[in-house]
């Protein structure tokens, strides 16, 4: 009388909890996911090709538009990659300010993740609280470089301008309130029974699978691997900073939540160290007006909020623009873990898994 068969459904690309235009093809047996195929490319703009036709100075503005919630991290990767290609030394003060702003951006990105992830799973209040703190950081970005999201914050060789007057005071005000706000989120979520039911043991992926798939960032660290580019290959002023790499052994959604919260605390520590030990001096190195490269190739990776963000440049002789530019985008690589996480689990866990991977489609499709 009853027929049982597998059903194929689409999640997205307009579904609000797919964080943009991610489409996931799901083959379901009842409520269990049998097969999952992410379909990407709805936001493809050909950024890599565009950057090959622009000079090294101009290309930076397109990096803002990749991971648009962490534009400053993208800027850092671009400018440091180009500086590596041309052997430019950046002043120490500029490196400190870069470190500070990148860590602020990490907090802003993680807050947006926390807000939307909690909203997907059903906790509305955290969304509003997290956006409130993110607003303070966006105000700081606006004071520093004039834009909130598409920052174009750094320049090749240093910074365009020094910190604006009042910036340090405003940043210290944020530093003073942030730990207490972070505890507030924890009172809302960490011991919340509904939150734990939706996250503990959900979307597991172990360390071997993470490494085999190339997954980096908080997802890898929540599987117990203490790999962080800030420690492994320190750039900017990270070598002078004192911080820890938070890890968890459980490798589930709840562990990733705890790791990201711990990372926000570490970022808070780094910002405090930058503010206290801010050196005096110039913020811009002497660089030529036109950068002409030799035949050379460079790969430079930084720790973006989502994982390892790498820029690969190939320069040609006398060229003012890169012959080839490639971005190793963390969201793109991390998304590969999605089928591994959710096949054999329930449909409701798909939403939690997409949220916990913290993907940004602007970066995946580029």
């Amino acid at each position: 009388m009853f027929k049982s068969e597998e059903m194929e459904i689409n999640l997205g690309p307009q579904h609000p909890s797919t964080h943009g235009v991610l489409r996931v093809k799901l083959r379901l047996d009842g409520e269990t996911v049998v097969k999952c195929t992410p379909v990407i490319g709805y936001l493809h703009r050909g950024l890599e090709k565009i950057c090959e036709n622009k000079t090294y100075f101009q290309g930076q503005v397109w990096t803002d538009r990749m991971d648009y919630v962490a534009a400053i991290s993208n800027n850092l990767g671009w400018v440091e990659g180009v500086e590596k290609l041309f052997g430019i030394e950046t002043p120490r003060r500029a490196r400190y300010i870069r470190t500070m702003l990148t860590e602020m951006n990490r907090i802003a990105s993680h807050l947006l993740w926390l807000a939307t992830h909690a909203l997907d799973i059903g906790a509305m209040t955290v969304f509003l609280y997290a956006f409130r703190e993110r607003e303070l950081l966006l105000d700081l970005f606006e004071a520093f470089c004039g834009a909130r999201l598409t920052t174009t914050a750094f320049r090749i060789g240093g910074l365009r301008e020094d910190l604006p007057p009042g910036f340090v005071k405003q940043a210290r005000a944020f530093q003073a309130i942030f730990p207490e706000r972070l505890e507030e989120y924890e009172t809302l979520l960490s011991e919340n029974r509904i939150w734990k039911k939706r996250t503990v043991g959900v979307a597991r992926i172990n360390a071997e699978d993470c490494i085999a798939l190339g997954v980096t960032g908080p997802v890898l660290r929540a599987a117990g691997v203490p790999y962080d580019i800030r420690k492994a290959f320190p750039s900017a002023a990270y070598a002078e900073m004192d911080f820890e790499i938070p890890t968890r052994p459980e490798a589930d959604t709840y562990a990733r939540y705890l790791v990201r919260l711990a990372e926000m605390r570490q970022s808070h520590r780094i910002i405090q160290q930058c503010l206290d030990g801010l050196p005096e001096g110039p913020v811009m190195a002497k660089i030529p007006k036109i950068l002409k490269s030799e035949v050379n190739e460079v790969y430079h990776a930084i720790e973006a909020p989502k994982g390892e963000l790498g820029y690969y440049f190939v320069g040609e002789k006398g060229g003012v623009n890169p012959y080839r530019m490639h971005v190793r985008a963390p969201s793109f690589v991390n998304l590969q873990a999605l089928p591994k996480m959710i096949e054999g689990r329930l449909l409701a866990d798909v939403i939690a898994a997409i949220g916990t991977l913290d993907v940004v489609l602007g970066e995946i499709d580029r």
């Binding site: 622009k54 100075f57 101009q58 290309g59 503005v61 397109w62 209040t125 409130r132 607003e135 303070l136 105000d139 606006e142 004071a143 520093f144 470089c145 004039g146 834009a147 598409t150 174009t152 365009r160 301008e161 604006p164 405003q170 005000a173 309130i177 507030e184 009172t187 809302l188 011991e191 919340n192 029974r193």
Partner: protein, 169 residues
């Protein structure tokens, strides 16, 4: 049994206590006096009260004039060259009684502008800035082509919908 465990009001009470704390805070402070101090209120009554923007805010491109009311631009074309999206077009010209070249046309295609401020940075004569106007919507596509003269929008006039923008400083 499991249902009973879920319905134990401890967690609900703890959650509601926090909500109540914030409700009290907001209820007793908001709308009584319009305190808009930093870190206190996060929502701004934007259309009624003009927003406060950072001094470095990047808005619409504007040509500057010197004390005599003459355009400072000398057509070095640095901004045209650096612009990542090629939105600036300058036509060089001569003017009576002026040594430096004078822009006959200075066109700015705002629809493609990404507000990166590279043009301002490249200018060696401080003759352009990005001002603080951010209400730049228009009904027609032609309105986004700004020139030195024009009926709808031109470089020197404020944006037609910019009623609430902050004043220049």
């Amino acid at each position: 049994m499991r249902l009973l465990k879920t319905l134990i009001p401890g967690d609900i009470a703890a959650g509601l206590a926090l909500t109540g704390k914030y409700f009290g805070k907001v209820f007793f402070s908001a709308n009584r006096k319009k305190v808009r101090a930093h870190l206190k209120h996060f929502t701004q009554e934007y259309p009624e009260i003009p927003v406060r923007l950072a001094p470095r805010f990047r808005g619409r491109l504007t040509l500057l004039k010197d004390e005599q009311g003459e355009i400072k631009c000398v057509c070095c074309l640095a901004c045209e060259k650096i612009c990542p999206t090629q939105v600036i077009t300058i036509e060089k010209g001569k003017m009576e009684g002026r040594k430096m070249p004078y822009p006959v046309r200075y066109d700015f295609e705002m629809e493609r502008c990404i507000f990166c401020e590279f043009c301002v940075e490249s200018c060696g004569f401080d003759s352009i800035i990005l001002n603080h106007q951010f209400e730049l919507a228009a009904y027609n596509r032609e309105d986004f082509s700004l020139g030195m003269e024009g009926l709808g929008q031109n470089m020197f006039a404020p944006s037609p919908v910019g009623k609430y923008s902050v004043a220049e400083d």
